[in-house]
């Protein structure tokens, strides 16, 4: 239940923030994909960034500034990633990787998900 609330908050942040903030800095998506795993992001968000124990991050990630702020000072259960362990540049790389994750197939096109 608490996880559901946590996810709801993040999705809310996502929808509000993406309408307000400027574009993300250029990042290296290839490096971002690599450190998404090595820095442990995948543990809660899965390799596919589709969410798991943590929130879904992609496709359409929240705005970069909101992303940066949340990673540095998470509001709920997520452990903090300070500048001492992840640089802003590396977070930009991770963000660039998240932007590469394509939209999923439409639910209507997946027969086994039909009601």
């Amino acid at each position: 239940m608490r996880l559901t609330i946590f996810l709801s908050i993040l999705l809310l942040i996502s929808s509000v923030a993406s309408a307000q903030t400027p574009a993300a800095p250029a990042g290296n998506a290839e490096n971002g994909k690599k450190i998404f795993t090595s820095y442990g992001c995948y543990q809660c968000h899965n390799y596919a960034a589709n969410g798991g124990a943590g929130a879904r991050l992609a496709p359409k990630p929240i705005a970069f500034q909101a992303f940066l702020k949340y990673v540095r000072h998470p509001a709920d259960q997520m452990p903090p990633y300070t500048t001492k362990v992840v640089t802003d540049k590396e977070l930009a790389d991770i963000y660039a990787f998240l932007l590469t994750i394509p939209a999923p197939p439409a639910v209507a096109t997946i027969p086994i998900l039909k009601p």
């Binding site: 609330i5 390799y47 596919a48 969410g51 452990p79 999923p104 639910v107 998900l113």
Partner: protein, 641 residues
Amino acid sequence: MAKSKKTSINRRGFLKGAAAGAAGAAALVVQVPGVNAQQQAAAAPPQRGTAPSPSASQLAAEAGPLPVDAEILTVENAGSDFMVDVFKSMGFDYIAANPGSSFRGLQESFINYGGNKSPEWLTCCHEESSVALADGYFRVEGKPMLVLAHGTVGLQHASMTIYNAFVARTPVFVVLGNALDATQRRPGVEWNHSVQDASSMVRDFIKWDDNPVSLQHFAESAVRAYKISMTVPMAPVVLVADGDLQEDSADRSKLRIPKLTLTRPPAGDAGAVAEVAKMLVAAENPVIIAGRVASTPEGSKLMVELAETLQAPVQGGGRNMPNRHPLSGGGGLANADVVLGLQVDDLWGTLNNFRDQQERSSKPIIKPGTKVLSISSYDLYTKSNYQDFQRYTEVDLAIAADAEATLPSLIEACKKLITGDRRRVMDERGRKIAAANAAALERARTEATYGWDSSPITTQRVSAEMWNAVKDKDWALIGGGGSRLWNIDQFYRTMAGGGAAAIGSSLPTAVGAALAHKKHGRICIGLQNDGDLMYAPGALWTAAHHRIPMLLVMHNNRAYHQEVMHIQRMANRRQRGITSAGIGTTITDPNIDYSTLARSLGLYGEGPISDPKDLGPALKRAVERVEKGEPALVDVVTQPR
């Protein structure tokens, strides 16, 4: 019990053996009572093919009077036969056990005197598995299973799943073999396997135990133990079967088996129930939180009736009510004015948000003034050492009673108070909740599409493929893997939950659950975690050996993943080594080939499957094998969560 059974060598047999001069002579150097070393040397094993005739002194000894004790070689009416009759009287279906010499008499009686029927012996490879098997069986069948174990090393193995059953309020009847009389113990191992007070090791997390010193005592305590374990809140019990009681002769004319009468679960006090009903009927936004309420299909129907009477949402799911019922789920706790907890393990944790940061903090989810009500039999029985009782919850009204037994009077009390005006308000509320739940189901479908084609395979896709493989069958879940997308329309589709998050218990619990479903011909399926399986994979062999059909789908994320996240949390807090969380927590290098492991233990196995396109066909093939009565395992390499 005072008689000696020490003389284990029969002199007649010994001399015959010596005369025959057969092979296997090493056994003949045993010191024979009443024969000195020289005599024994004279009777030393002869050279091959040169069997000497017995000496005059040997012949004299052969013809002389025998010590009385040497004659005790066989027994009629073994005490353990009576014990088996005691257990048969209580209607046990199965015994789960890894064999052990401390209960050899009882085992022989079960399989020969008892005919290995009612109860039937299940061969387990680990006592931890034996208890979990019994736990899983009860969660489906509602009947306890017997578990036999050594009072020492067997119980030490079994203790973890006994605790898990205790936390899950599952009755398991554990019988421990022991040799209390020190003068009767065989030297060596039997001393290591003996203990003064066998149950002491687990007494903090069982409900009752006894160490009977006579067969009549055993019978009365066995019936008492069964009754106590089945009285709510239910829990495991332990009974010691002393070795001498098992192996000595019983005078059946002096023994009788007491009648078993189970207690009926207590329903809530009528006045208190009326107060609860008054608050629920008057509430604008009541929320019902259902823990382990329904223990029968009737309980599930009652849960539905309460929800429909009040048009109130029921959180907690499980087998309390069909998951696609319009009132199943939903209803925000933040807006609730009355919360009713029914048999909830952790009400505090449900009503509060706890934040696991360096400075731990919590805040209530419910608003000030929300009335919190509780009906639970857990208030009737609490121990102190192990902390499974969770944090103290402040409530406005608590009824110490079984929730399922209280539901009929609560429903009736609510119905009496509902006026036409309240009915209209409730119906409108119910329509909103139903609409919200329908929307949530659609969102769940969309959520399942994220990462649909990714490799490793998402757990949402695994769940969807599992559902697709069994949805047209008569299926039952014997572990995780279900989701909102599954149509859980019958009580038996899922099993009772709960436990102490005891890693290693899920696999044998699933085997026990599948055994309970076997006679109904249901297709059993469950998601099996890799770390859990590796504790005691021998339970797979037990499923194959006893022809228990079931399909295990591996959630193979190649890690003790919860622990990966905990170590990551520590590293992040300390701002160091954030790339090291996999040390000591991952199950890689080498990766484990679970399908080969399963095949080696007699199951049908497929995998590892990493491409999501291969999963559906593999599950279809595995289900076909399960339909033929086989256990099967499909190894799926998955996303972490």
